[in-house]
Amino acid sequence: MDTTIRIINLTKKFGKVVALDHVSLVIEPGTFLTLLGPSGCGKTTLLRCVAGLEDPDGGEIFIGDKLIFSFDKGISLPPSQRELGLVFQNYALWPHMKVDKNITFALEIQKMSKDEMKKRVKESLKEVQMEGYEDRYPREMSGGQQQRIALARMLAYRPKIFLMDEPLSNLDARLRMDMRSEIKRLHHIAGATTIYVTHDQVEALTMSTNIAVMKEGVVQQFDPPDQVYHYPANLFVADFIGNPKVNLLEGEIDAQDLVDLGHINIKVNTYNASGKVVVGVRPEDIIVSTTPIPGAHEFAAYSVLPSGADSTIIARQKDIELTIRVMGISKIKMDEKIWVAFDPSTLNLYHKDSGNLITS
């Protein structure tokens, strides 16, 4: 079956607040799409609209050729007819049912045979590595285990599309790490089109095949993770993605390939641009040296923060501050003189006024 999800001009308002503002996305079969953005950006609303738990105020949604929602035609299929599964942030396991009942609930409604149901429970528990937990009540399990059961519950009735609403945000850091690889694995095996909501950029970058970054109900960028990371479409995305944060340096293009930052000029690739711009450079893309190198600018190490695998160096020159990331434990001392250089191919230029990426 074709599980392409086509979202066209989807709009949703809560009173005067516009939660989704003409959102359009085409999600190819087998995609692991992450909806990423700060709280209140509309990502959960979008997911709930696809699930059929919210009725949008405009637009259309198709799954394959099937029209599941159309405002103009007045069509909205109930969630049960959309053949999708949803994992909730707080697991939403039914507390009065044991694990097996939680899993078979949907199967009973489909009037599946007892034997088949038993088989499905076994299979799905195996898939989430929770064999033997059939007789537990949700309250008798840890948060991580409950989340696995919630996944198993969804897997058991084999939906065509997986929807997940911040499923890992209630887990501690270590468990989250484990579950990330589990969920990625499950997606790999099942191959189901997945929409995954999160505000955690690391989750988005590590798990997805595509990321849609959202802000105030509008999709800012819809691209594969490396594209989102290396070529953020605008200043919001550049600033939102990456840890430590991207360096954003305001300046003015004076010659064809020089940006004047005030005290220093940096060389950029030729762009058909002029006027005020913002240069975006990732901390790990800055070249740093303790000895002078040609074309480099002299900075002082304001603070050095080693963290094992890498170190963060805050460098200053007058009012310009740079965050630099180097591998390993840095030998640079605080207040030491350092020289920094930029590789033009790693720099992104943005219009200062619109905030949009300038493409060559």
Partner: protein
């Protein structure tokens, strides 16, 4: 991302789309339920209120023979002018109103003092036996409200009104003064000793949620204990005091039993007793004018207090988590205070019950000597020499029927209220934020501002004639059930909402995604998860309906008599011993019920009332 251009649809297409969307909205479970509940509540609350007002401004059948030119059913201000002006207005409206306000005000202050002090002692001090006191403190509320009034008469009855003397006169040989036997003083004392429970529960809940670090901070800064109490503790419990104030004031304003026992014999009428008098005299419209006055005063108090609470509410959650409660040290006073509290509790619970019990064994009223003791009142055969020929209570088939009525009424009301509560909770919580949900919530809240006796009056007005699909219910048992459900609506809705809040919308949505239809979702998810709330609400309603008097006193007749109204019938026929037996039966049932509630986790009277 830019918007794609979508071709405009034709008018007919847009119309079908619009009607589909409307139909989908209409068939959402919370919308269907809300609309259904609104219709039900419209019948149960709005129409009766309308009828009440309408009756007061139209000529009644009784007026036709009495007033020239009166035409039954025509509009007139006759009843209002009659009840509001001249000597008639003074006697029938303003004096009772003044009495009602006196009783309510006196009650509030006495109850606040008792309830507040007890709460502080139990929650905030190192007084011994605090758990015991905590349990005992709610007992007076579980007993019927007029128990204390009856006990009071056993003790302080005097012969100014004829009849037999009380124990006081029997022992001292001297008649107690009138002000001590009847009128505002005993009424206020007896009503306050019943309703102080509200203050006790609200204030102890508030005190428990206050971090005593706040008080200690004051202490560290060198403030004296009294100053801390006044400047820190008191402002923090103010919202609780105000809630207690509303509850107590509006309840005391409409209370019927106690003023009827302790006021009516000396013609100290309050609005509720005067209403009953007017009705008995056949002046329905006049009685309803009093009912409206009562409702108006209740509304004014409640809205006034809500305004005050509204601005203070921000205090309520202070220190909600991880607080430290260090008890205040009573030091040398510890034992003395404990003894005083215990004596007080005995005086308001044990002694009244003992007096009532002793009284039930007296053959002739007023003779408390041992050779006058008998079981005649309990199990005697009918004998024209005693009790106007009434048989002993336990042998009287009418009493058994009455008891069955009481139980039936309480069970049915509790069942329907519980069910209605779940549905109300679902509609309100699921639709939260929509106008429909707000409307449902407000309608369910409406009976809260109508004192019980006025609600009873409303129901006479409504169902005396067939109305729409509903036949005339006047004098039927169904009417009692209906009015009791209406009276409990605010409570049902509150407990339903709090039960539903705990369920969380994802649990239902998960079932929806899994393909469950509305009925499957209710049966397998929502009902099972709200059972605990349903059961405790059920029992609490059972108890409160069991001993409800004001609400149904205007509606009962020979066939629909319940235990509570039966006691009044005995009282009014000077059969005090038999009235007291019935009161004891009622106490037995309600106390047993409360013990059962205690067995259910999370279902104590404290919690039930606290959620209101």
């Amino acid at each position: 991302m830019t918007a794609l251009e979508v071709p405009r649809n034709s008018l007919s297409q847009r119309l079908t789309a619009g009607s589909r969307r409307f139909f989908r909205w209409l068939t959402r479970p919370q919308v269907v339920l809300s609309l259904l509940l609104i219709v039900i509540m419209f019948y149960m609350v709005i129409i009766p209120l309308y009828k009440l007002v309408q009756t007061t401004v139209t000529w009644q059948l009784v007026d036709v023979s009495r007033v020239e030119g009166a035409e039954e059913g025509e509009l007139t201000l006759y009843h209002w002018t009659r009840m509001m002006t001249g000597i008639f207005g003074k006697i029938y409206t303003f004096t009772p109103l003044q009495h009602s306000l006196t009783v309510a005000t006196g009650t509030v202050f006495l109850a606040m003092f008792i309830g507040g002090a007890l709460a502080w002692l139990v929650v905030r001090t190192d007084m011994p036996g605090r758990k015991l006191i905590n349990q005992l403190a709610v007992l007076p509320y579980i007993m019927p409200s007029w128990t204390l009034a009856q006990a009071w008469l056993v003790l302080f009855k005097n012969r100014t009104q004829g009849g037999s003397p009380g124990l006081f006169e029997f022992i001292l040989g001297q008649s107690p003064p009138d002000w001590l036997s009847y009128g505002p003083v005993p009424i206020i004392i007896c009503v306050a000793l019943h309703y102080y429970t509200f203050f006790f529960l609200f204030v102890s809940a508030a005190l428990m949620s206050i971090d005593s670090n706040l008080e200690e901070a004051g202490e560290l800064m060198g403030a004296k204990r009294w100053r801390i109490l006044r400047k820190i503790t008191l402002p923090l419990v103010l919202p609780a005091l105000l809630s207690g104030f509303i509850m107590t004031f509006s309840k005391a304003l409409g209370t019927f039993g106690t003023p009827n026992i302790l006021g009516s014999p000396v013609r100290y009428y309050v609005l509720s007793t005067m209403m009953r008098g007017s009705l008995a005299a056949g002046d329905k419209a006049d009685a309803f004018v009093l009912g409206i006055v009562l409702i108006l005063f209740s509304i004014v108090t409640i809205s006034l207090n809500q305004k005050l609470i509204g601005t203070r509410r921000s205090y309520e959650t202070i220190g909600g988590r991880g607080f430290v409660a260090t008890p205040s040290k009573l030091r040398d006073w510890k034992k003395a205070i404990f003894v005083i509290v215990v004596i007080f509790q005995l005086a308001i619970v044990v002694i009244p019950i003992a007096l009532l019990t002793y009284n039930t064994f007296l053959l002739r009223s007023g003779d408390f000597s041992f050779d006058n003791l008998t079981l005649q009142n309990w199990i005697g055969e009918a004998n024209p020499d005693y009790n106007d020929g009434q048989p002993g209570v336990l042998l009287n088939p009418r009493i058994w029927k009455t008891a069955w009525n009481s139980i039936r009424l309480a069970l049915l009301t509790a069942l329907f209220s519980g069910l209605l509560g779940v549905l109300l909770g679902y509609s309100i919580v699921k639709g939260r934020g929509t106008r429909l949900s707000k409307l449902v919530e407000q309608m369910a809240y409406l009976p809260y501002v109508i004192p019980g006796i006025a609600l009873g009056a409303v129901y006479i007005a409504m169902f005396s004639k067939p109305l729409g699909p509903i036949p005339s219910l006047y004098g039927t048992f169904a009417l009692l059930v209906l009015v009791s459900i209406a009276d409990k609506l605010p409570y049902s809705s509150r407990s339903g909402v709090s039960a539903m809040m705990q369920v969380g919308h994802e649990l239902e949505e998960a079932a929806q995604i899994a393909g469950a239809n509305v009925w499957q979702r209710f049966r397998r998810i929502i009902f099972p998860l709200t059972t605990a709330g349903f059961v405790s609400g059920f029992l609490l309603t059972f108890i409160t309906v069991m001993r409800e008097l004001s609400l149904i006193i205007l509606l009962v007749n020979r066939d629909t008599q319940v235990l509570a109204s039966q006691t009044m019938w005995y009282v009014e026929n000077n059969l005090d011993q038999m009235a007291n037996i019935v009161i004891l039966i009622l106490i037995f049932i309600t106390v047993t019920g409360n013990l059962i509630i205690g067995r259910f986790r999370g279902g104590s009277l404290q919690k039930g009332l606290g959620s209101r």
